[in-house]
Subunit: 255 residues, 4 copies
Amino acid sequence: MATRNYVTRREYDAWIAECAALAIACRYPIQAEMINDNTGLVFGDDQYEAFVNGMWSREPYEVFAIFQALNEPAIQGLPEGGLEWAQFGGLCDKLMIVHPGKFCSPHLHWRKTEFYEVVLGEMELYYASDILEDKRLQVTKKGLVSSHPMPKGERRPSGVRLPKGREHTYDKLTEYRRLGVGEPKFVMHRKHLHAFGCPPDAKTPVVIREGSAYSHEPTATGKASILSNWQGIHDNGFLLEGLDEGRLKNHIRES
Amino acid sequence: MATRNYVTRREYDAWIAECAALAIACRYPIQAEMINDNTGLVFGDDQYEAFVNGMWSREPYEVFAIFQALNEPAIQGLPEGGLEWAQFGGLCDKLMIVHPGKFCSPHLHWRKTEFYEVVLGEMELYYASDILEDKRLQVTKKGLVSSHPMPKGERRPSGVRLPKGREHTYDKLTEYRRLGVGEPKFVMHRKHLHAFGCPPDAKTPVVIREGSAYSHEPTATGKASILSNWQGIHDNGFLLEGLDEGRLKNHIRES
Amino acid sequence: MATRNYVTRREYDAWIAECAALAIACRYPIQAEMINDNTGLVFGDDQYEAFVNGMWSREPYEVFAIFQALNEPAIQGLPEGGLEWAQFGGLCDKLMIVHPGKFCSPHLHWRKTEFYEVVLGEMELYYASDILEDKRLQVTKKGLVSSHPMPKGERRPSGVRLPKGREHTYDKLTEYRRLGVGEPKFVMHRKHLHAFGCPPDAKTPVVIREGSAYSHEPTATGKASILSNWQGIHDNGFLLEGLDEGRLKNHIRES
Amino acid sequence: MATRNYVTRREYDAWIAECAALAIACRYPIQAEMINDNTGLVFGDDQYEAFVNGMWSREPYEVFAIFQALNEPAIQGLPEGGLEWAQFGGLCDKLMIVHPGKFCSPHLHWRKTEFYEVVLGEMELYYASDILEDKRLQVTKKGLVSSHPMPKGERRPSGVRLPKGREHTYDKLTEYRRLGVGEPKFVMHRKHLHAFGCPPDAKTPVVIREGSAYSHEPTATGKASILSNWQGIHDNGFLLEGLDEGRLKNHIRES
């Protein structure tokens, strides 16, 4: 049973301030409006337990920070006929910071293709190298372009400590890669399951630049979208039920 | 009259090696295959004149370097109905290095929206804040989505030294911005005219990260595209005629 | 009255791990042995109060971290006649990280001249531009080389929040400077009083490279010195009595 | 026979501007006054041959650049009795940039102890691990403190291409080390022979921070020293005769 289902204002602000400082040290162009109550992501009520021992406990929880510098629909100047498909395009740029031992929960995006560039530390990537049909997530391969599949990864090392009680949600992500600084950018295609984490014994959080198509996120920034019919879109499909709703608002306890 | 219509192998290799070292110092993930005979761009035969006094002469010429880390069509997993419009999407990531006084020639992309992040130095940006109809470039506003226009810029400072004999090609790019390190990313929409340069008195070349939709370039990399019907596409429309062809192959003189 | 005279193991380790990650992001060559129970400095028992609200509370306390990469007596190859004076020479190199609102306590070194290079953020420097005679600290100007005095600073801004109950110890440090990234290195001469801090509203801790003569520190590293007659030397003279002893060992509460 | 005993103004300025840009990209605090006609070092008339094919030819020549940020005698506040020995102390901080294949010529300093931190690329270090007696250089071990010797290195790889006609000057530097980014700082003691270079196949010049005691250099900056009796000191002893004089002034051909 979890002993916590909230983060205190002090804990949250310290966590995000630490991440923002690290982002600035890594030369990412952080703006004031990128630091807010949606910058930190906690994947479900039971993951607030991470704050009992704090971000540097190296314990496995699904929690990390995103600084989003750009989310551009890129519809300006598009022929009107293309508007229907523009949800699969657009441009987004963000910096993600995962503390040692922490994870991003297994998920896919129906529309968004993305790629990673590791800026500091090492990224442990878990993914499925093909599109897996899934009834609940409404993924079917029929009618989809199948141009170039994902490259295979390595076998996951045996010692990896996955988030407690959630180990099974990583089962379908059979491919494992360790990405480092200076390596080629790694593309994660839409509709492919993926998760990632930072090695628990790392000296630094892993800092990752993510470039992608437009990010249909159920957050404050997403809601400000200019395209009224895009506003209801949640493009994140999590393997664990209920996560997307859980992410809509952090439980930050003031005082 | 130009005294040069070529660059020597030694000059070219020294220029690109210098830029690659600067890119690595700026932590861009340079790979061996990103350094080749298309990395340097010379915009027309008469611009080889730039090599008489070299990259550090601070003289105005249209010549700079691009290190392209990724050019991803992003069609994998797309519903087949969207394939027709995928040319307007996709993901590209590159680093551009412009020496003091040098420029990228005025142009637009019919399909590609892009954005800039200055990594080192200062970027002088020249652009048109609206889509300008142009018969030769076959740009018409009819039938285009007009969602959010470009922000206005400042008035161009009077002292700017534009490339000789090409000053008129900058006339329609009435907006001017100076972008620096740490500032918000700046979006340049498709079909909007733009050019950029590095201040001639700068202490460093300007180093710019460009994120964008797929880059339909008439270069070796572009030709390797997996989509056979994309291979003929040149998405660069230059205001000065003949430039795109001129860029297809650098005139490198092997001593 | 202080509510705390210790730091917990978890708090201490999280603080130092955060600083080490920031140091690595700033490209300082951190080695495993530079991370230990003397890396964090707490200037007196009452300053543990800083940990009640944590490093990001922006409250004024005297506490910061030092990563020491080198402390070299530089006596190898010295003519024996110079050995007597070698305590004033040698080479030390360290990285100092001060969180927003935090300070290094007013002090001087009898032997050590040092200089600062700001790597990230802004450094608020407080100092006396001349050697001030002081009976308790046994500083007298008689018999000293007086070659070039310190440059004057600005007047201290009125709003600065100094550590509570210690404001008076900053009185003699009448000169104030704000040092930033890219500025010339600033020399602090031996026997000159100085203190420094990070602006409380800063987005990042201030990260400072300090180069100096040999650092005669009463810490584990200092005690390992090869020069047996140097081992008793404490070269830090604090204006507030008792501080040097207080720094000998952090009160880290295991549990 | 050499075909060149000068560097043109354009070649010199381009070389130093390139190095300054790289230094700034590596976050070293370059100031305008650090860029001058003594920033580039050419070790002897025959080494101007390096400019025939340029800095990126990867050919072995003894030529590199130094940006000196600080040279502080550190005598302020010193007891007068120590003044006699202060020449062995003081503080200097510089950034050195060596292009692929280029070298710093074998030499020693009678007074100056120094240490290296590699900032970019790899440094090939050649040295003698003990003080070698040398009549011409007036080095004798008698009367010297011998506290801790230099660590041994590896055997020099067989393929190293040393500067033509100067290979023999590297004979006594039997120890070889390859130093990289993030590694511990490496101390080079006074009176120990050393030289260094950048691997000819490197992707970047090697960029090295050097901290040291006061640098008694026969350059413009050195001459501005406040200590009149220090002004005649040349603390660089080269194994190849005539080098120090050759370094006093670069042969830059204006026109």
